[in-house]
Symmetry: C2
Subunit: 210 residues, 2 copies
């Protein structure tokens, strides 16, 4: 069986858990306690020198050390249901929206959180190297989250899912980003009706409780 190095409260491992659940793939879970900074332990650095979760370890011991790797691998090994797109155009839309959700969504939340939280002093970026907090970047992150919510709402006005007709990894990345924005006090409101309805539909799927 594969092993997922995981942490329940963090957004990036949640992306992997949802993806696995939507694919119907069962894995062992190994908790890495980010509260006690276990990701920086000597033992975990052997697993991932970048000191981040998730990591998916395959049956033959290969280590997939980020969500990009995990999604590409799972789509090839477990093609059904397809979560990276079906036709060429569909694949393009999934890749594009996933990229936007990651850069404009998850990264904006991370910037706001890591540069603004007292718990994150000198950890403005993930990984083993210290980076000082930049207060202006925390502020910019908050501004970008608002832009992200608006862009999702506009897209979802005419499409049931971000890439079109089917659930994809882009929806997973975006939903996790929206949920995680709670940590910096940002949440969609009545001005984002399409985003809210999509969020409710996704949140009702069993996989999204993973």
């Amino acid at each position: 069986m594969m092993t997922l190095y995981d942490y329940a409260m963090a957004p990036n491992p949640r992306r992997a858990r949802i993806l696995l659940a939507e694919k119907g793939v069962t894995v062992q879970r190994q908790n890495i306690d980010l509260r006690t900074q276990e990701q920086f332990s000597a033992a975990f650095r052997q697993i991932n020198p970048a000191c981040t979760v998730p990591v998916l370890q395959t049956e033959d011991g290969e280590l997939l050390r980020d969500n990009a790797a995990i999604a590409a691998y799972l789509e090839d090994r477990f093609p059904q249901p397809p979560l990276l797109g079906r036709s060429a155009l569909d694949k393009a839309l999934v890749a594009s929206w996933n990229w936007r959700a990651e850069f404009d969504g998850l990264m904006a939340v991370a910037e706001a959180f890591r540069n603004g939280s007292p718990a994150m002093v000198d950890r403005a970026l993930p990984g083993p190297l210290p980076y000082a907090q930049i207060p202006a970047l925390a502020e910019r992150g908050l501004a970008r989250i608002a832009v992200f919510f608006t862009s999702l709402d506009e897209r979802l006005r005419d499409h049931p899912f971000l890439a079109g007709e089917h659930l994809s990894v882009a929806d997973i990345t975006a939903l996790v980003s929206v949920d995680f924005a709670r940590v910096v006090g940002c949440q969609p409101d009545a001005s984002h009706p399409h985003l809210q309805s999509w969020r409710q539909r996704l949140s009702a799927r069993p996989a999204f409780a993973a």
Copy 2:
């Protein structure tokens, strides 16, 4: 024939040009003059509301508005040579290294450039919305570029290409990032022999002159 909305001097359109050339796909090119801010023109906003290049317009008029979309689309329509990986593991490694090249490489250079250059005042992020420069982010970008060069050098000590045995989109993203780092005065040196040798090999490929 497909049309590439392009600008010769910018790193992101170069990624698309190299990918097309490695695939042997010929396109029409439509220059969008970033020096005169043509990306913000009403005409180009119809093509891409995000006001960025590259955009690839397909024969049936679909608009692929970022490199993520373009790479996914081209790999499906023109599978040879594969540039997003062959086996499941290979696809994972390509996705992972491409992601790292984008986040740790190209984004670090962009942060240093956009937050530090007098030409980029209020354009600290691409797109139509103004974002003020953050000098501390320019400094952090420079520090991250050095880390990126070291990580590439270590990886390329034992592998001919970033994902392993074959050229992939990860090499394209990384090489373009390394070349573009010139704009902020960062370049590999004698302390990066494996990076330098990889760079010479790639730069000699006809597609990389695209």
